[in-house]
Amino acid sequence: MSRRRVGLLLEVLTPVLLLVGLIVWSNGSESFFFPPVTEMLTTFRDTWLFERFASDAVPSLYRLGVGYAAACLLGVALGVVLGSSDSAARAAEPIVEFLRAIPPPALIPFGILVLGLGDQMKIFVITMVCVWPVLLNTVDGIRGIDPTLLDTARAYGIRGVERLRSVVLPGAGPQVFAGMRTSLSLALIMMVVSELVASTNGIGYYVLQSQRNFAIPEMWSGIILLGLLGYLLNALFVLVEHRVLAWHLGARGVDH
């Protein structure tokens, strides 16, 4: 077998074996906190396929999606401005560093006060957290573009929107994606945190509610769903990244 095949086999086999092991080990478990894994899985199927999917998973995903998308757009847009002008970057740096330093959950009380308990508050919190990695990485990415590339663009009169589209954004692309990736995991965290406080639906809300009602298998099913979501979102992200940054990965592969 080739190395690649062995690697793939290990990647698939390890979690499967671990899961089987857990099922066997937890079989007949009397523990209140750790019910048998089979029971968790049954509950998972009954809950999320698809009884509560629309009522709890969809609202969560909606907030995550809107908040994350807004953060990415805002982060890139502001990053382009700050990355293109030294004086703007100088002026903004202390403010950015201050805002970034605020522990994100501390924004929730303010969000509730201003935006209420609904989706808006949660989206606001997610965006406020996710915008910084994208913003800072975009600034770094733009500053790191090779001066010869920029000279080339200048010499050929490539400017304005065309310069942004064909030179600046692709040049900063690898860094921008690194920022977006960090933000994606932050988005998932903030989605759950915002739903644990004053919420009426969502996966985070469901996990908390189940725990309060001593519905432990239900609570576990919510946690499992969050883990799966994180895994799938990341996989989706990697897929998009590989498409958009194919040139970058290819070029790096050649360099090695």
């Binding site: 590339l149 000279d151 010499a155 050929y156 490539i158 065309e162 030179v167 040139w247 070029a251």
Partner: protein, 270 residues
């Protein structure tokens, strides 16, 4: 393209000076450089290493503001990269967009010219054919060798159809064989398009082989040390031309001119 008569002055460099920094810390990179390039001419600029050739080229292309003097293209003063000028940088791997294919790189500067799709495609096709990269239009730069990447940069400049082509030590980082091939590519292109070329190099052989006229620069603060006519027959040939006694003579002459620089300056100082 501009309808210049062959032999009419196209590019004028008049009293160009470039100083970095101010006050006591100021360093004079370019002392005083003046010369002209006529339409259709192939002019090489050589000089000792570190004499500010790249700085000079950046000033001429409008990428860098000069401290004094001016550069005129078709009689108009340059204060930014002019539209009728194309540039080929030394560092091909950093002047091609790695996210664009060969075709994408060549057609990028053409976008602002608002050509029809048909004409754009035609220009790209013709340019890649001129540099011998016909079958590589869909490759990315990093999939090509160094010499091929520099061909792409040349094709990009060609498709742009400039009046004048500025080349900054374009073959300094390729191997000798590739270098000879690329020199001939440039000569063929020049023949075919009757393009005006200003070629900066530190290689004396290369300058004599390519040029109609060689401008020899002094070391810093840079000025024009000597202008040498190259009356070698065309078309040039890597073997036959370099065999000519005249070639050896010119080569030796320029070599001495460059080496003589310190003596000349000492004499002036004394």
């Amino acid at each position: 393209m501009h309808a210049d008569q062959k032999g009419a002055p196209m590019l004028d460099v008049i009293g160009l000076k470039k100083t970095y920094g101010t006050g006591d810390k100021a360093t004079v990179a370019i002392g005083d450089v003046s010369f002209s390039v006529s339409a259709g001419e192939f002019v090489c600029v050589v000089g000792p290493s570190g004499c500010g050739k790249t700085t000079l080229l950046k000033c001429m292309s409008g990428l860098l503001a000069s401290s004094a003097g001016e550069v005129r293209l078709h009689g108009t003063r340059i204060d930014g990269p002019p539209e009728q000028m194309a540039l080929v940088f030394q560092d091909y791997s950093r002047s091609l967009m790695p996210w664009l294919t060969v075709r994408g790189n060549i057609s990028l500067p053409l976008k602002r010219l608002r050509l029809s799709h048909q004409e754009r495609d035609q220009r790209v096709a013709e340019a890649v054919e001129s540099v011998g990269l016909d079958s590589f239009t869909d490759h990315y730069p990093w999939q090509l060798s160094g010499g091929m990447q520099q061909r792409v940069a040349i094709a990009r400049a060609l498709a742009y159809q400039p009046d004048i082509l500025l080349m900054d030590e374009p073959f300094a980082s390729v191997d000798a064989q590739t270098r000879a091939d690329l020199e001939d590519v440039v000569l063929r292109i020049r023949e075919r398009y009757n393009i005006t070329i200003l070629f900066v190099t530190h290689d004396i052989d290369e300058s004599v082989y390519l040029a109609d006229r060689v401008i020899v620069l002094s070391s810093r603060p840079t000025s024009v040390q000597e202008v040498v006519q190259v009356p070698l027959p065309s078309p040039r040939d890597q073997v036959a031309t370099k065999e000519l006694p005249e070639f050896a003579h010119l080569r030796a002459h320029i070599y001495r001119a460059i080496k003589r620089v310190p003596d000349a300056r000492a004499a002036v100082g004394a």
